[in-house]
Amino acid sequence: MKLTPKTATLLVLAALVAITPFFFPSGYYYRVGALIFVNGLAVTGIVILTGYAGQVSLGHAGFAGIGGYACALAPVHLGLPPVLAVVLGAAISAALAWLVGRPILRLKGYYLGVASLGMGILISMVLNNERWLTRGPDGIDVPDLGLRGVLKDWGLNLSNGEFWYFFSGIVMILGAWAALNLHQSPTGRALRALHGSEIAARTVGVDVSRLKLQAFVISAVYASVSGSLLALQNKFITPDVAGFMHSIEMVTMAVLGGAGSVLGAIFGAGILTLLPQVLTVFAEYEQMVLGLVMMLVMIFLREGLLPSILRKLRGTGE
């Protein structure tokens, strides 16, 4: 039986999540792994927005901020269980993305980039300044998700690190599954079509503004859930999660790994999460080496690391 790219990607991800812990020298690596998966989830949203639909956002960390703060605030102020707080955060992010997306998605290329950047900065400023609600730049405590306790009652006793590793891994795989479904679906085709030629997409009947908006909203939900997971596993959150640097990180991870492919983008999230840890051997030159690596990849492997590597392996010299 021939493996479809979708099944292959999901198998690779499942195998990675399941097998790598056997090689962990210490419990600390569960934490790094969970961080990769959280980033991988956000970046999968970027794949839908940028890789499929060809639209740029430099403000998606704003949605991660909303997802994160929803988990901090909704349980305290609304009495919601944290699981529902994740859903509420995603709903608010989706609604905001819909509102903001309608005017700004008319813009193209770097105009859209700057407009989305403004949106991200606005969200991050609100989180910084509305101290009465968010406690400002010092950050705020986030209640426990409670799922680990439930699993314990069922006889599955995981350490905190192990739990968040596997839980984030599963959520990331679910996110990848949905993104891959979308890729092969009528909506995904229309998104990729408008990426290829907006004018031709219109002439085959694609409602371009509507489709772009859908991609923007979906990717906002991915970012929001990723922010929620980050807040819940840290049990603490600061406005940095919504910051400009985090937005840039998301886009960089996706583009570096290969924004057109889910596996590639997650690979990029892995590399950029791990690299700073590895590059500590360069001490104060760490950031410089990181920047250099990014420049070299973009100059020589424009499609992104993973797609370029796979192409070389297959030996198709295109």
């Binding site: 092969q184 079509a193 979906i218 057109g260």
Partner: protein
């Protein structure tokens, strides 16, 4: 009764009248060709009819409805589809996916069903894929189905665009130089294809430089020069028209290589 009525259509770009007061109509099963020297305004006219440019004056009436300046995707829903002179192919998609895209209006559905990969979503894709494969066979591209479209020859891409436009099952089909860059054999194939489509009752509007092809397949010809209609009629009448001969002789040197 005509399906597409162009009434006094005009547009100016920065003071320059690119198209001025052009009127004609196209009926089902008819092939109407728009010809004229380079820069006569043929593609501009096409872009106004297909909703890409907003006309400065005049009306486009499709099936009795005024569709002047309507968005291309809404025109597509009303049965208008087109190809482009400078190819507009979805380069990084496969040939098959390009053809399936033409079925967008039939295959689209709730985005949530598509995200969750529900059976309904797969059914829609499957139906579109079957139609697309049949169309690719019709334009002789069935064996290239899985190839990335960007790797195809120019002539093949021209045929792919026609297939994609046909996928909409249009009432009116606008073809902007469908045979440009094609060799003699390919041109003849496209010829047959267009005639066949017209025979099935589609109204076809054609811009083409290949005069032999135009004379062979057109039922009616509209001649543009400097944005104005200078003549129209059946091929025999138009080819004898002194104004047409003058316009073409005047630009003979430019067209010698085309």
């Amino acid at each position: 009764m005509s399906l597409l009525d162009i009434k006094g259509l005009g547009i100016t770009f920065g003071g320059l009248r690119a198209v001025n007061e052009v009127s004609f109509s196209v009926s089902p099963g008819e092939i109407v060709s728009v010809i004229g020297p380079n820069g006569a305004g043929k593609t501009t006219l096409f872009n106004m009819i297909s909703g890409i440019y907003l006309p400065g004056a005049g009306q486009v009436v499709l099936n009795g409805e005024d569709v002047t300046g309507m968005r291309p995707d809404l025109l597509a829903r009303r049965g208008m589809s087109r190809t482009f002179q400078n190819l507009q192919i979805f380069q990084s998609m496969t040939v098959l996916e390009n053809a399936i895209s033409g079925y967008h209006l039939q295959e689209r559905g709730p985005v949530l069903a598509d995200l969750l990969g529900l059976p309904s979503s797969r059914r829609r894709s499957k139906a579109a894929e079957e139609g697309a494969r049949a169309l690719l066979a019709r334009v002789g591209l069935e064996r290239a189905a899985e190839r990335e479209a960007g790797n195809l020859s120019y002539g093949a891409l021209k045929r792919l665009e026609i297939a994609r436009a046909l996928a909409l099952n249009p009432k009116v089909l606008l073809l902007d130089e469908p045979a440009a860059g094609c060799n003699a054999v390919e041109t003849e194939e496209i010829d047959h294809l267009i005639a066949e489509v017209a025979k099935s009752g589609v109204a076809i509007l054609l811009v083409e430089h290949d005069m032999k092809m135009v004379m062979r397949i057109s039922s009616h010809i509209v001649v543009l020069d400097h944005g104005e209609k200078i003549a129209e009629g059946d091929p025999a009448t138009v080819s004898r028209d002194p104004a047409v001969i003058a316009a073409y002789l005047g630009t003979e040197a430019e067209n010698a290589d085309g």
